[in-house]
Symmetry: C2
Subunit: 410 residues, 2 copies
Amino acid sequence: MALNDNIPVINWEVHLSDRMKRVKSSAIREILKITSRPDIISFAGGLPASEFFPIEAIKKACDKVLTEQGPAALQYSTTEGHPPLRTFLAESMHKYGVPAVANNVLVTCGSQQALDLVGKVFLNVDDVVIVSRPTYLGALQAWNAYGTMYETVSLDEHGMVVDEIEDIYHRVLKTTGKPPRFVYVLPNFHNPAGTTLSLERRQKLAEIARKLELIIVEDDPYGQLRYEGESLPPICCFAPERVLYLGTFSKTLTPGLRLGWIVAPEAVIARFVQLKQGTDLHTGSLVQLIAYEIAQSPLFKEHISMLRREYGIRRNTMLEALTRYWPEGCSWTKPMGGLFLWALVPDKINTNDFLMKAVEQKVAFVAGSHFYPDGGGYNTMRLNFSYCRPEIIDEGINRLGMALKKELGA
Amino acid sequence: MALNDNIPVINWEVHLSDRMKRVKSSAIREILKITSRPDIISFAGGLPASEFFPIEAIKKACDKVLTEQGPAALQYSTTEGHPPLRTFLAESMHKYGVPAVANNVLVTCGSQQALDLVGKVFLNVDDVVIVSRPTYLGALQAWNAYGTMYETVSLDEHGMVVDEIEDIYHRVLKTTGKPPRFVYVLPNFHNPAGTTLSLERRQKLAEIARKLELIIVEDDPYGQLRYEGESLPPICCFAPERVLYLGTFSKTLTPGLRLGWIVAPEAVIARFVQLKQGTDLHTGSLVQLIAYEIAQSPLFKEHISMLRREYGIRRNTMLEALTRYWPEGCSWTKPMGGLFLWALVPDKINTNDFLMKAVEQKVAFVAGSHFYPDGGGYNTMRLNFSYCRPEIIDEGINRLGMALKKELGA
């Protein structure tokens, strides 16, 4: 058959749901298109370092599961997730005193799907979610599709200022007649801010949630990537009955498998499962079996230790380079883990405009204002330190420093 | 830390979105739990036969992509899908005269995710979708979460009676003030009915859609599994500007990879991409690379030929067994492909009640009424013929026949 070269063009916009008016492409995604040129040193993405992926271990695991469990690895599977993987993930909470079992776990297609399912299960149009200022852009993107409104809480070097929540709760209840739907919190090595919520605030947040009967969504993609200090217990260990704890293999194993999970009370996991059935039936069988094979081997702990060591070096390199190359009047967070640090530049620089000048100097970042759901942060930027090798980090921070000095007339 | 054995129980229902009131577990899923006992012959599921999975080819493909493209197979990837796979899928439409290019394709996590994204992109609460009576349950499940209403069109041996659409359109427009959002059609080897939409009706449907400015969602999971007769062109080749064509690797390669796709005009693919970003970022990188590796090899065509041959034998076995074992007053469709046939039993049998009696005889099916969004079909059932081996099919149909005779007092 000859190709049809005479196709009319129709206006699809008139056919779209109202929801689509609220959906925009991620600003970061658009930035990444510009900054993916090979001559640009990019601190913009949130990618783990490809050179550390355990390719051989994945290859072996894949061969093993296909040899020993081929049909199960390739057939339709349960919506809840691969049972041994669910048990493994549940037991990984026991070190915090959380007595999770397999029925408390739903395996998702990355934690982005967990965020989307949280929106689908909990959010009506115009519902209010409490987030920190700044907060993770991917969560806003997931929830914007549900018509969500945001109230923001300040963030300082100890994380979200949880004392502000109670006032917001009462104000929202008074003005809308409904309480906020939940509080979204990134306790460890916050994206984008790099801060860690203090133990005291974790306990306080759990207390406030109990008092106000609030749900907490605890997003913990980076918890295992700590480069200094002691691990802190997750918030879910202080109020397990009302926390949805989100984990992921994207930063510890690899993102391309698309594997995350939710740990929560069984009653709400059952509701998530009902919704996930119609959403995508289940998370891939093969990738779940591969992840289980690796996660329960001693090799995985060694792999994470290696990542901690190497990413710790990159973080230190970035901190040292910032001190060495950047002008007076700039400051930055000193994250104890994770992938990002957060920099503040003098007020007269708007980092959205400055980005274009940085790109001319062949270096890129994400302007901080994208992480503010209600505006602000125009003199901030997010810098990723996991993806580039140390010598590249040093060079990139130098280039940024020069561009800043030029901008400041220094 | 000791496990916390003193967790309060909260009522999650008060926290859920209004959407959750409309979401129920799939009836089929509940049935599958009962019928998965190993002593039961089940025609209930919609599973491809595990013994035909190309395990060795997948093992080789996995090894190859990890060896040659390890970092790319495991890193974050684009929301649209793996570019060579998109091009391959676009070109697979050329045989129908549809001049698709990579930008017309979005790779999804199975075609269930495509159905969900269709709902998310197009459906407001109370919007009307036109479906056949019966129709695919998974589509209803995906769209129920968006508060969808259904209008149904009859189905006969030539598929959906498309002539009924125009009246429905005008009635919906008059009573709700809005046109129906789209028509959902399974052109080939319909799930659950096994029927195929005739060429004449395909052309007619495209004509009606153009006249009424309607969108068509063309769901084609089984198109390549034809056991007799000539392939018919998809509806999208008659109105490519207003059709969303849904394909999947679940029935030809394996379901556990969770890979499907949408072919549609670029303007609407761009909108799907925006929404998928916040939904799950992207479909798994590794599984896309594996599928591309296999799909473009000559082996894949041979594999599909083998499936056609083997599934054709199973279909024939079921048809012969039905003729041999079933009592007077029953009838069934003779599908030219796919995984299912549809049986009608005498009116006095309600297949929902009869299922319990069948299970006592250690055989199971899905009662047809589940596939009717507005009631009906109480004397119908869906029988899957792809999963069981021929001798098991013969035995299972025999058992069902005995149970039917007993029920009818014959």
